[in-house]
Amino acid sequence: MSELFFQPISELAARLDTKELSAVELTQAVLARTKAVEPQVGAFNSFDEADALGQAAASDTRRAAGQSLGALDGIPVGLKDVIAVKDQPLTASSKMLANFISPYDATVTTRLKAAGAVLHGRLNCDEFAMGSSTENSAFQPTRNPWDITRVPGGSSGGSSAALAAGEAIATLGSDTGGSIRQPAALCGVVGLKPTYGLISRYGLIAYASSLDQIGPFTRTVEDAAIVLGAIAGHDERDSTSFKAAIPNYRAELDTRRGPWKLGIPKEYFGEGLDPEIGAAVEQAIAFYKNQGCEIREVSLPHTQYCLDAYYIVATAEASSNLARYDGIRYGHRSKHAKDVVDGYFQSRAEGFGAEVKRRIILGTYVLSSGYYDAYYLRAQKVRTLIRQDFINAYKDVDALITPTSPIPAFKLGEKSDPLTMYLCDIYTIGVNLAGLPAISVPCGFTKGQLPIGLQLIGQPFQEANLLAIAQSYERGHAWSAKHPNLS
């Protein structure tokens, strides 16, 4: 049996229930691991040992009294530093919020607490979730546990790296253009981006509100079902939250066994795809075929426009969302301002990093008088066409299979040009524009022992199906049994 900190929730919960293991012992093991590997990985902006142990002790007290709150009771879960936890730092990995302490809980935080999870630490990310490598953090770059000279992906790179390194049992991230799935692929863990509206965004620092969605990173698909079940569901504090009946995702896994009709979008296998990743995904497709699934080639003809539509829509929304950081009510305030208006200019100049400034500038430009129709309005129309592509494809298939990332984990500093970095997201962005659920599951390693991710894209609010399809692949493979070798 592997170390405690590498085990999935499902197994740990069973051991906690039999009292063979206590939540305090488990949390101590995760904290000890965190302290041992953090100097190499750098996944956390901060963590509060006393607070985590206090939560774990409370969990043990509940269990001793026969009042366990379920599978997550006593499980250490790390949160990306864009998700609010009352009285804990909330920085978005930005100097702008370096000293901000959250006065309230995000809805996902409230729900994890209600499920008894031990909330452990503030996980690093690209500043304001803008990036694909976590190098845009104002505090430190996070390193990939499989090769610490490489990035963990982004923007939720702290969430994927911490999980891969055994510094948490599950984590949450947020996904606006691939920020859960791409780091999950690069770090060899499961990452789920749910349907837009399934999970409340209340208490999530906004980047691009029509695209942002919170989701879990876990070791197994079953664990993703457990965490999703705890955090999904309608919330009156998010006007875009969907009133859907939430199934018991974990129980549903056993009732859905296929075979499924799976679509292969030909546009996702073209130029720029690393041949080793292409081969691993082809093998996964062959696996499904052997399981009796019907495999069909489908076309998503507007795929080549996804990146452009995304960088207009997302930056436009970001320029509006980030207008609130003016140095007046909270956040960084410049000490070098001539007057109140100059204070806005100086506070934002000092508080934001280069990528955030670039995206605000681009978003401001595409919304500005004279350019709105040519850029923003046109991008919104192309978004309609991109969504229609998926709707058309789903007339014939249950889900789509693609690579998650065109390339495996790259070296720190390798992609200094913004456009080159943006191309990391070509297979994940369309899903956000169309509001769909998608999951990345480990599907092998390159010759250089870097993880490869398989992306499965589902139909809106059909997470139960998507998870079952992903689990049928996982059951036939043992990729998650392998762990990075951090000394």
Binding site: Y196, G197, Y305, D308, Y311, I312, R348, G370, A374, G435
Partner: protein
């Protein structure tokens, strides 16, 4: 579509309320020029008769009963203010 050279960095930075250094202006102009050049290809898409999508799904306005509920205390609300005095946020002088 407009040409990428249309990006007047001074004008846009002013609209965005960000003071940029001359070095930032030069590098952002060049980098965003490449991004805008890539974006030009959206001009090839025939969008005649296509409705714009602000969200992936139709989003309706949501109304709630106007009922007072517990919120943040003054102390909690001011906890992150850069400067405060007498339960108020201190700001630079606005009117001379």
């Amino acid at each position: 579509m407009s040409a990428p050279s249309d990006l007047n960095i001074d004008r846009v930075a002013k609209l965005a309320r960000i003071a940029l250094t001359p070095e930032e202006k030069a590098i952002f102009s060049q980098q965003l020029g490449s991004v805008l050049h890539h974006i030009e290809q959206l001009g090839q898409v025939d969008v005649t008769g296509v409705e714009p999508s602000a969200h992936a799904f139709a989003v309706d306005n949501v109304w709630q009963e106007d009922v007072a509920r517990p919120g943040l205390t003054v102390e909690q609300a001011l906890r992150n203010a850069p400067a405060q005095r007498d339960n108020m946020i201190v700001v630079p002088k606005v009117v001379e």
